[in-house]
Symmetry: C2
Subunit: 319 residues, 2 copies
C-alpha cells in the first residue's frame, strides 16, 4: 500500500473521507522526523477549516461505564444530525494497564454510524507525545467536518489536566455508590470539571445516583471557580436507558453561551505554543555534540556526589 | 540588622547555631539573583558536611493528625539523643489554601526541644522554587548536625512525587475511618509510600485502625514495587498516646539496611542536576533579546489563531 500523498490526504480529510482521515491521524501520530514535517505541512493546509467543533472531554475511572455512555451520547448526537468523532487519550497504555480504546468491540453501534468516527487509542511512547498528537487529531477531525469531537480519557495521573487544555468542556463521569463518593475523586479533577454526570441512574441504583448527585453538587459549589459565568452542574444519566443524555448536551450548549470559548481556545493555543518551544529547546540542548561529550562524565560525578548538581549544571550550560 | 557574611553563615551552620541556620535557609529561599549566587557558594562550602541524615518525608491529608504525629515522633527521637529538623513543603500556600506550618503554635513541645529545629513553611512564589529550596535546606540542616530531617507535605498535587525525590523514606500518614479507605488515597501516592502509618490507633478508634491497616497491607501488596528488597509495611500508631512510634523508627532503620540508599540518592542528584539545567535553558531562552522582541507579537498571532502554534514555535526557535 503506497502512502497517500500530501495532496490526497488534504483533499481526503477536507472531503470527510474516513479512510484518509485515519491515514492523516496516523501521520500526525508518527514519530519519524520526516513524517513530522509532512504532518506540519498538512496541518498548516487544513488550518482554515479547523475550530468548528464542540470539543468535549469525557473522563472517568474504569467501571463507571464510560464507553457505554459515549456510545449512547454519540448515537443521540448522530441521530440529531451531528457528526461525532471520538479520540482517546490513554496514558494507561504507557503504564501497561491496558488500552481503553484498544478493544475494537467497544462502541460497536456508534462505530457503525455513518456520521461517527472512532479512533482507537494510540500506543504512545511518551505522555507528552499523546498530548500533541491528540490536539492535532482534533484539528484533523474538525477539518473533516465533525462538529462534535469527544476526547476520552481514563482518570489516571496528569491526563485530565492535559486533556482539559485541549477541549471546551470537561465532563467528569461518575457512578452511584455507597459511602463518601467524594473520596474517589482526585482533588484536581473536580476542579477542572465543567459538569459531573452520574451515570447508571436507573433501576435500583436511581436513589443512590440521586444521593451522589447531591454530594457532587455540594462539592462543586465549594471548589474554586474555573470560569467566570459558569457553575458546573451535577446531572443524572443512564446510558443503558438512554435517559438524561439530552440534558447533558443542553448543559454543554449552555456552557458555550455562558463562557468565552474563544478566549479559552486562545489560552490553549498559547500554552501549546510555549510547550512546543520548551520541548524543542530541551531536545536541542541535549543533542548538542559538546553537551553529549560531557554528559556521561558529569552525570557520574553528580551521582557520586563529587560535584554539587547546581555547579555541574552550570558547567554544562557554559559549554 | 546587617546580614551575616558568608563566612559567618558557614561557621554558624557548621557549629549548629540555629539562628544562623535560619538565616542560611532564608538565603537559599531568596529569589534575588545575588542571593542565589551567595547561596550556591555557601552550599559548595558546606557540601562535605552533608548527607549524614536520615531524610524522611511525612505526608498526609489535612485532619490525619500530621503535626501531632511529627511532634510526638520528633520528641521521641530527640529524647533518644537524635537531632531533628522539620521542614515543610507547602504547595497549598501557593494555592491559597493556607499554610501547613505557618501557625507558630504547632509543635510547641518539639519546637522548644534543644535538639530540634522547626522551619516554618516558605511562602513560595512557584512550585519548582519550593523543591529547590527544600532540597538545599535539607543540606543546610545536615551540615548543622541534624541527623534526622523530616520534610512535611500536605497531600496536594505533585508535591508527593517531588518530595519523594529528595528523601530516603516516604511515610504516608492515614487515619482510621469507615468505608473504603483506599478511595481516599491518590493512586500515585500509595505507589511511592515506603510505609503507611495509621495514626489515631487508640481508644474507640483502635478496631477501625486495625481494619484500615489490613486494607492498606492488601493494597501495598498489589502495587508495583518501588525498591527491590523492601515491602512497605502498614503500621499502627497513636501520636496522642505516643505508642507505635518506636516501630515506625525501626521500620525506617530496617529500610535503610534493606535498600541501596546511596544509589537512591545518586539518582536523586542526577535528577536534580537535569532539572537545574532544563530550568536554566528555559530561562535563558525566554530572556534573549531577540526572543523577547518577538514574543508578544507571536503570542497574539497564536492566540488569535492567525498562525499555528507549531509554526510559531519554529519561528521563535529559528531566531
Amino acid at each position: 500500500m503506497t502512502p497517500p500523498s500530501l495532496d490526497e490526504l488534504e483533499r481526503g480529510v477536507l472531503a470527510g473521507d474516513r479512510t484518509l482521515l485515519a491515514r492523516a491521524i496516523t501521520l500526525v501520530e508518527s514519530t519519524r522526523l520526516q513524517d513530522r514535517d509532512e504532518a506540519q505541512e498538512l496541518l498548516a493546509r487544513i488550518a482554515p477549516k479547523t475550530g468548528g467543533s464542540t470539543r468535549i472531554a469525557i473522563s472517568g475511572s474504569p467501571g463507571v461505564g464510560k464507553s457505554t455512555f459515549i456510545e449512547a451520547f454519540g448515537c443521540m448526537l448522530c441521530e440529531a444530525g451531528r457528526r461525532v468523532a471520538v479520540l482517546a487519550v490513554d496514558p494507561a497504555s504507557v503504564r501497561g494497564l491496558g488500552s481503553i480504546l484498544g478493544d475494537k468491540s467497544r462502541m460497536q453501534e456508534l462505530a457503525q454510524h455513518e456520521r461517527a468516527y472512532i479512533r482507537p487509542s494510540p500506543s504512545a511512547p511518551t505522555f507528552r507525545g499523546v498530548g500533541r498528537r491528540t490536539r492535532e487529531s482534533v484539528l484533523l477531525c474538525e477539518a473533516a467536518g465533525f462538529d462534535v469531537v469527544i476526547v476520552e480519557t481514563v482518570g489516571v495521573g496528569q491526563s485530565e489536566t492535559m486533556v482539559d487544555d485541549m477541549v471546551d468542556f470537561f465532563l467528569l463521569l461518575m457512578q452511584p455508590g455507597a459511602g463518601d463518593e467524594l473520596q474517589g475523586i482526585k482533588r484536581g479533577v473536580l476542579e477542572i470539571a465543567d459538569a459531573v454526570v452520574v451515570n447508571k441512574a436507573d433501576g435500583e441504583l436511581l436513589p443512590f445516583a440521586r444521593d451522589a448527585q447531591q454530594q457532587y453538587l455540594a462539592a462543586l459549589k465549594y471548589r474554586a471557580r474555573k470560569h467566570d459565568g459558569w457553575t458546573p452542574p451535577a446531572l443524572l444519566a443512564s446510558a443503558r436507558e438512554r435517559s438524561g443524555l439530552d440534558e447533558v448536551w443542553k448543559s454543554i450548549e449552555a456552557h458555550r453561551n455562558a463562557v468565552d470559548i474563544a478566549r479559552r481556545r486562545g489560552d490553549q493555543l498559547v500554552q501549546w505554543w510555549r510547550e512546543e518551544i520548551e520541548e524543542s529547546i530541551r531536545e536541542r540542548f541535549w543533542s548538542k555534540q559538546a553537551v553529549q561529550a560531557e554528559t556521561a562524565g558529569l552525570e557520574r560525578a553528580v551521582r557520586e556526589n563529587r560535584i554539587p548538581p547546581t555547579q555541574a549544571a552550570r558547567r554544562l550550560l557554559d559549554l
